[in-house]
Symmetry: C2
Subunit: 177 residues, 2 copies
């Protein structure tokens, strides 16, 4: 294995859900790097049906957290990224059933990029919980046809959030089940 | 940025859908590394509701390809990985609506690991196309409650498959839409 291989595989294995942050801000340059990683994810038929809202303002982060029961870490996060599907793209593609998969891939890319940048991030699901979606849609003024999929709080890790070893050999089947 | 940051972000940006392979086999050790990367992906409530079938036998790869109109690259691939949801785990979790997101994250991890290992891979969707799912389910003898999500042909790149620059600044909205 080359160094590149080792470094990337190590990052994949080290990625963790980071829910505790120092409170330090996250720069727009960092967020832009995360967003570039998100946009580099594959999409069905390469339709790229996603859009992103990046939030750094304290009052918006707090307001988001107030309406999301499982995303209270926004109160301490320096920023968040909301991954959205944009149906104006999606409908043109006719791939209406696949944009959630594209959005999940983009979310994972953002998490891995954050890990590589020594930032902490965590995937918090919005879709398909309509109450959570509506809260985010309203606060972020999402237009009709734009649907929030996930919200990713981002911050500088306070420490203590550790990766889990999730490898289970019995989940692998060779050739056939 | 550290070297690690650069290497990982470069890999994320370089990942591409590789559909052309040399025909060389892919070792089980390589497949195991890919599967470890897949299992390291996050899952809703950490329920880890996935299972994987790794195929290297030529006749099975060909038979899979024959019934999948958009996955003919299996005829030249050295192997493939089928990412599945295992509802025996899922139902315990009560997170029945989220396993597709977990499976998409695992699929993306496998694609990134392949890129880092200088292998070529491509995400081919099975879910929610029931004819594709049924073809794979039957050939791989998936038990009831195990649902195929994606099939990832893997091979040694023949060259010619290039990454796309998908960055579009207009897809980013700051603070609110």
């Amino acid at each position: 294995m080359t160094d590149t291989t080792t470094v990337v595989l190590d990052t994949i294995m080290s990625r963790k859900s980071v829910r505790n942050y120092t409170g330090e801000p996250v720069t727009k340059a960092c967020l832009l790097a995360l967003l570039k990683a998100g946009m580099a994810a594959p999409s069905a038929r390469n339709r790229q049906p996603l859009a992103f809202v990046a939030v750094t303002e304290r009052n918006i982060l707090n307001a988001l957290g107030e309406g999301l029961p499982f995303t209270k870490m926004l109160f301490k996060a320096g920023a968040c990224i909301v991954v959205c599907g944009d149906s104006s793209v999606e409908l043109q593609a006719g791939a209406t059933d696949l944009w959630h998969q594209d959005a999940a891939a983009a979310t994972e890319n953002i998490l891995l990029a954050a890990e590589a940048m020594r930032l902490g991030a965590v995937w918090s699901a919005l879709f398909p919980m309509s109450e959570r979606e509506d809260h985010v849609r309203k606060l972020l003024k999402l237009p009709a046809g734009v649907d929030p999929f996930s919200i990713i709080p981002v911050g500088h890790p306070a420490g203590g959030d550790l990766p889990k070893d999730k490898f289970k050999g019995e989940k692998i089947h060779w050739e056939v089940w």
